[in-house]
């Protein structure tokens, strides 16, 4: 009978300190040398990670009640508007929201980074006043320790693969894919390839709703499918999407997060975004799982799109592997184009290693998903009624 392992068995090994964990990069040469069956006997878990910019980020905050109380209808944190159209003292600060006084230089992402760095932020709120919430205005300073709840909620993160961007036009483009030089002057890409979580679990067998993860250095969970989750994306012969595929919605307490793994960013002439570090353990349940996590950069490809065309459907120009992208140069229709990443492989490796060590030290156990991520038929466009 082929060997299998259960979540409980692996957690038992974590508790007794007998667990064997390697990163998704370290497992590749092991499987190449010994084959999946031998590796399954030795290794229980693989850690995956990513540290990239994700605009679809923000945090829910509860400020507690003042005396007399206020039903906050508009809220600003360090002059950045937060969404207050929920309960009296709840708000959601979105990462890409800009400061009303400092523009693109400071935004929601910076507020979140300041909070987890232990800084106080200026809270200002207004209200129309009600019988039960008479106060109409408040201004004070709050820090993480003053808040009742403060949790990061990423409606979308951990993209399973993404586009490679080039620019065919004759001017510089400033995009969320970085600065794109004219006439195919460069190509940018943004996943950690063979270390990236959903590229190691392409059919979402172990990563699902309820999976415990390392989120910006603290503990978090997969909450739901992410927005624009697209499992129906075209896949290669190994079952890996060739462009943006599945996504995850993530949740985790801001308390316990580290600035090392959560950083506000500004993309020139585009806007504010947030780098969020995510580490996800993948249990090696059977040989099939070992084969999936052994995927390497030369087996993962991404589609190159022309961001010089300002349309929803940008022309696809070809396909390249992550091994080529990492080599510093891709060849597209006979033309050599230098490449550069936008997400930090250096940090992703640190996260994968930190998660590995936490598991080895018995500080992080794993959870089985409580529900699977759904399979859907692609992403709908927005039609404009005329």
């Amino acid at each position: 009978m082929p060997m299998t392992k259960s979540y409980d068995e692996i957690n038992e090994k974590i508790k007794t300190g007998k667990v064997v964990v390697v990163t998704a990069e370290e497992i590749i040469p092991m499987v190449e040398a010994e084959g999946p069956a031998k590796v399954l006997e030795k290794v229980d878990l693989v850690t995956t990670a990513t540290f990239g910019p994700m605009c679809s980020s923000g945090a829910f905050l509860n400020f507690g009640h003042s005396d007399p109380p206020i039903r906050m209808t508009k809220v600003w944190l360090n002059d950045v508007p937060a969404y207050a159209g929920i309960a009296a003292v709840d708000a959601y600060i979105g990462a890409t929201e800009c400061s009303e006084t400092r523009g693109l230089e400071y935004g929601g992402a910076h507020v979140i980074e300041d909070l987890i760095s232990g800084k106080k932020v200026k809270l200002r709120a207004v209200s129309y006043g009600t019988d039960c919430y008479p106060k109409k205005e408040i201004e004070t300073n709050v820090g993480l320790e003053d808040l009742n709840q403060a949790y990061l909620f990423n409606p979308r993160n951990v993209y399973q693969n993404y586009a490679v961007a080039v620019n065919s036009s004759d001017r510089i483009f400033h995009t969320y894919m970085g600065t794109l030089l004219p006439h195919y002057g460069n190509a940018t890409y943004t996943t950690s390839g063979e270390l990236s979580p959903l590229l190691n679990d392409p059919h979402y067998r172990t990563i699902g709703i309820g999976t415990k993860i390392l989120l910006a250095g603290g503990e978090g969970y997969v909450a739901w499918e992410g927005t624009q989750h697209n499992p129906a994306q075209e896949r290669n012969e190994l079952g890996i999407p060739v462009s943006s595929g599945g996504t995850l919605a993530l949740i985790g307490d801001l308390r316990g997060m580290k600035r090392d793994y959560l950083r506000a960013a500004t993309y020139h002439k585009y806007g504010i975004s947030l780098f969020v570090g995510v580490g996800i353990p993948i249990p090696l349940l059977d040989e099939e799982m070992v084969r999936q996590v052994a995927v390497s950069n030369k087996e993962i490809s991404a589609t190159v799109y022309d961001y010089g065309v300002q349309r929803r459907s940008r022309p696809a120009l070809g396909r390249v592997t992550y091994a080529e992208l990492h080599s510093g140069e891709i060849c597209l229709n006979g033309k050599k184009i230098p490449t550069a990443p936008l997400s930090s492989l250096y940090k992703a490796r640190k996260i994968a290693t930190e998660l590995k060590e936490k598991i080895q030290n018995g500080q992080f156990t794993i959870t089985a998903p409580v529900a699977k991520l759904p399979y859907r038929d692609g992403v709908k466009p927005l039609r404009e009624e005329v």
Partner: protein, 135 residues
């Protein structure tokens, strides 16, 4: 090898004279053009790196330019990188054509100051805003 980086500004009437040719031929200087903005009939700018075995030769070459009405300033603009705030994302390497910025060992950012031509593209390309031009 002596080296000097200079910013040359020359009046419209000089833009069509082969001055750099003389630097090479008469003063035996090696020239590396870091930046050039020359439109016939307008004031032109050239950023050059001059090198030769002797610093004296370089100064003689520069004197020659001054005699012909070229204004010379040392290239004092520099790029400064706040390393401890860098997240090693690599975005800046996408625009650095001189190869001064690259990802090296462990995928960490490496800045080779000597290769920098102060084109300033990396300043806005860095999403962490940790690259600045200083004068």
């Amino acid at each position: 090898m002596a080296k000097k980086r200079v910013v040359l500004t020359f009046p419209p009437e000089l833009t069509e004279k082969p001055l750099t040719y003389h630097l090479v031929k008469d003063f035996d200087l090696a020239i590396n053009i870091l930046k050039a903005k020359i439109t016939p009939g307008e004031e032109g700018t050239l950023v050059l790196e001059l090198s030769n075995g002797s610093p004296q030769k370089i100064d003689e070459g520069l004197d020659f330019l001054v005699r012909h009405g070229v204004a010379i300033e040392p290239l004092s603009k520099r790029i400064s990188l706040q390393e401890e705030e860098c997240i090693h994302c690599g975005s800046c390497t996408a625009v650095c054509k001189s190869g001064a910025l690259s990802l090296g060992e462990e995928n960490r950012l490496v800045f080779d100051r000597d290769k920098c031509i102060v084109c300033e593209l990396c300043v806005t390309a860095c999403p962490m805003r940790v690259i600045k031009v200083i004068f």
